[in-house]
């Protein structure tokens, strides 16, 4: 995780990392906003309808350097527990809604559809 900062090339306004935890987070946001105010060329291509795909290209370009680190196997207990927690928070309400939809749409959608839709998003 430490090499994140060195890899970062495009954005200048990364929030300070966790080493500076003694600063309240509000202050950090104020700092960031000041930085952007001075940067007059802020509104760029990806907010304008005249540059098709600029937004998507920007998104992929800016995230790609982090892609490998997203997958770097950090087998920590937190990841495991979070997976279990979010799985149930996602599926149990989906099952409940599928029951509601099952009754209201003349049985067109059921549990299988709800689970597959959740998996499709994933």
């Amino acid at each position: 995780m430490d090499n994140l900062d060195s890899k970062n090339t495009n954005i200048s306004d990364l929030p300070p990392n966790n080493e500076s935890i003694d600063i309240p987070f509000d202050n950090q946001n104020v700092e960031d906003e000041n930085k952007i105010d001075t940067n007059s060329g802020y509104l760029s291509h990806y907010t304008s309808i005249r540059y098709p795909c600029a937004g998507m290209i920007r998104d992929v370009k800016i995230r790609l350097p982090y892609y490998l680190s997203d997958w770097k196997l950090t087998l920590s207990y937190r990841i495991f527990a979070a997976t279990i927690r979010i799985f149930f928070l996602n599926t149990i309400p989906a099952l409940a809604y599928s029951l509601d939809l099952y009754l209201r749409s003349n049985h067109y959608y059921g549990v299988n559809e709800a689970l597959l839709a959740s998996a499709l998003g994933g």
């Binding site: 994140l4 306004d13 990364l14 929030p15 990392n17 935890i21 987070f25 906003e33 509104l43 760029s44 291509h45 990806y46 907010t47 540059y51 098709p52 795909c53 600029a54 937004g55 998507m56 920007r58 998104d59 992929v60 800016i62 995230r63 997203d70 997958w71 770097k72 950090t74 937190r78 990841i79 527990a81 979070a82 997976t83 927690r85 979010i86 799985f87 149930f88 928070l89 996602n90 149990i92 309400p93 989906a94 099952l95 809604y97 029951l99 509601d100 939809l101 749409s105 959608y109 059921g110 549990v111 299988n112 559809e113 689970l115 597959l116 839709a117 998996a119 499709l120 998003g121 994933g122």
Partner: protein
């Protein structure tokens, strides 16, 4: 194999893997309202119609992503996000109550059993999640409780209805399941044939597609924003355009498979970020300077504060939960799901719905209005503005919520997405006339910090705090 490839799109490909994408209440509302409208003409094959809606909607999603129109999401503030969060919470609770009423329709014994299970579930889930925010037990136990609260409660209260004797003999309604890996309508294959639809209806599908797109434009982006809200110390950049483009793909795949279209879920996204948080004890300032070596007795130490220092941003949680969904579609797991009673699902609805409402700004402001001023925290920023203004602001939010909630009870629910999108210009144009910018700075704030907002062009000038 199709299942595997269609699965886990957002976990693997999204720029924001923090957003949990799944099947949600609003799309359920959209699907059955469309069904009610379409089924008036029994000639129309419903799933083929929904497939065409998905095709048009996907095209609109791609156009929006290509022409950078997602950028207007930057005008969304907490005003809109909080009303929407409150609305989603209220719909959850309403559905829960509906389930209980359905049990009462069968027999009153089932009804009362259902009330017992649902509120038992709600109470135990509420206690478990609140203990985790309290100072009881140790950090490890508290983390355990919040991570497994949902499954503990589901297992306990589902089992509760099986306790032999009076409880079991109530025989309350359970979740209906069908054959594993087969569509619920057993006569169809997974692939919906769009050519079943007559040409006229292909074009009738367009207005429905516009409404789905409007709904997802709002729902998906507001969920992604709240998952990256200001108080989370996120370090990896966001990308709203790309994710909206991907959402077009999941919509069209879902259309062809005859599924309800998935999108990012309002309470679940923020819960995901919460689940990935790392908390550390931050030493009070005076403790950091080593002074005389006085050993302080444990009980005399100042209370130590935990603070959120890091979010584990990765793709495992999102991808794995999608894969587990696929695994649980197999027979044995489906049989487990079939043990869950409808009353437990009612409890889940009420518990999650209340979770949203409890932390909502609407609730907080309403409570502040009735609180004795002497009991307000001295640094509460709301003290800087007159109560009349807080009252007006809260009332505006409540009326907006009431309009959203009202429309979704009728067949006009189909127009819900337009109404919810109107809240954004309402905030920018009307609210700025009713309140001064100082008041709005205190009452309202941008949802996310500058890092996620960078993708959509940063804060607009209207919302900048001077």
């Amino acid at each position: 194999m199709t299942f595997f490839f269609s699965g886990i799109v957002f976990g693997v490909l999204a720029v924001q893997p923090i957003s949990i994408v799944g099947f949600t209440g609003l799309i359920s509302l959209f699907n059955y309202t469309t069904y009610n409208i379409i089924s008036r003409n029994s000639q129309v094959p419903y799933l083929s119609f929904m497939c065409w809606v998905a095709i048009w909607a996907a095209i609109l999603h791609w156009l929006i992503a290509i022409f950078n129109l997602v950028t207007y999401v930057r005008y969304m503030t907490n005003f809109t996000a909080e009303i929407f969060g409150f609305y989603v919470g209220a719909v959850y609770i309403q559905k829960g109550v509906d389930f209980i009423i359905d049990d009462f329709r069968e027999t009153s014994t089932k009804g009362f059993m259902s009330v017992l299970v649902a509120f038992g579930f709600f109470f135990s889930y509420w206690v478990l999640t609140h203990v985790s925010q309290s100072g009881y037990f140790t950090r490890t136990i508290r983390d355990f409780l919040i991570d497994y609260a949902m499954i503990i409660c589901v297992i306990f209260w589902s089992g509760f209805a099986y306790i032999p004797g009076n409880l079991r003999s109530t025989n309350i309604q359970r979740l209906a399941i069908t054959t594993a890996y087969q569509p619920t309508v057993s006569t169809r294959s997974w692939f919906v044939n769009p050519s079943d639809l007559s040409v006229g209806y292909v074009f009738i599908a367009i207005p429905f597609a516009i409404l789905v797109t409007a709904l997802f434009y709002f729902d998906h982006n507001v969920s992604s924003l709240t998952a990256q809200a200001k108080h989370y110390p996120l370090r990896k950049p966001a990308g709203f355009h790309w994710d909206f483009f991907l959402l077009g793909w999941t919509t069209i795949i879902a259309g062809f498979l005859g599924l309800p279209y998935p999108n990012a879920l309002v309470p679940q996204c923020a819960m995901h970020t919460d689940a990935l948080g790392q908390w550390k004890i931050v030493q009070p300032a005076e403790n950091q300077v080593p002074t005389a070596t006085v050993t302080i007795h444990k009980s005399r130490r100042p209370a130590r504060q935990y603070s959120l220092v890091k979010i584990k941003e990765q793709r495992f949680t999102n991808t794995c939960q999608g894969l587990i969904c696929l695994v649980t579609m197999t027979g044995p797991f489906l049989a487990c799901y079939a043990l869950i009673s409808r009353a437990v699902l009612a409890g889940v609805f009420i518990a999650i719905g209340w979770g949203s409402i409890e932390v909502s700004a609407i609730t907080r402001q309403a409570l502040d209005l009735v609180r004795d001023p002497n009991h307000m925290k001295i640094d509460d920023p709301l003290l800087q503005i007159s109560r009349k203004k807080i009252f007006l602001y809260t009332l505006t939010m409540l009326i907006s919520f009431g309009a959203l909630f009202g429309i979704s009870q009728t067949i006009a629910a189909i127009g819900f997405p337009i109404l919810v999108l109107l809240l954004i210009p309402f905030r920018i144009i009307v609210l700025t006339k009713w309140f001064t910018s100082e008041e709005l700075n205190i009452l309202d704030s941008p949802v996310a910090s500058t890092l996620p907002l960078d993708s959509i062009g940063g804060l607009p000038d209207v919302l900048k705090t001077s």
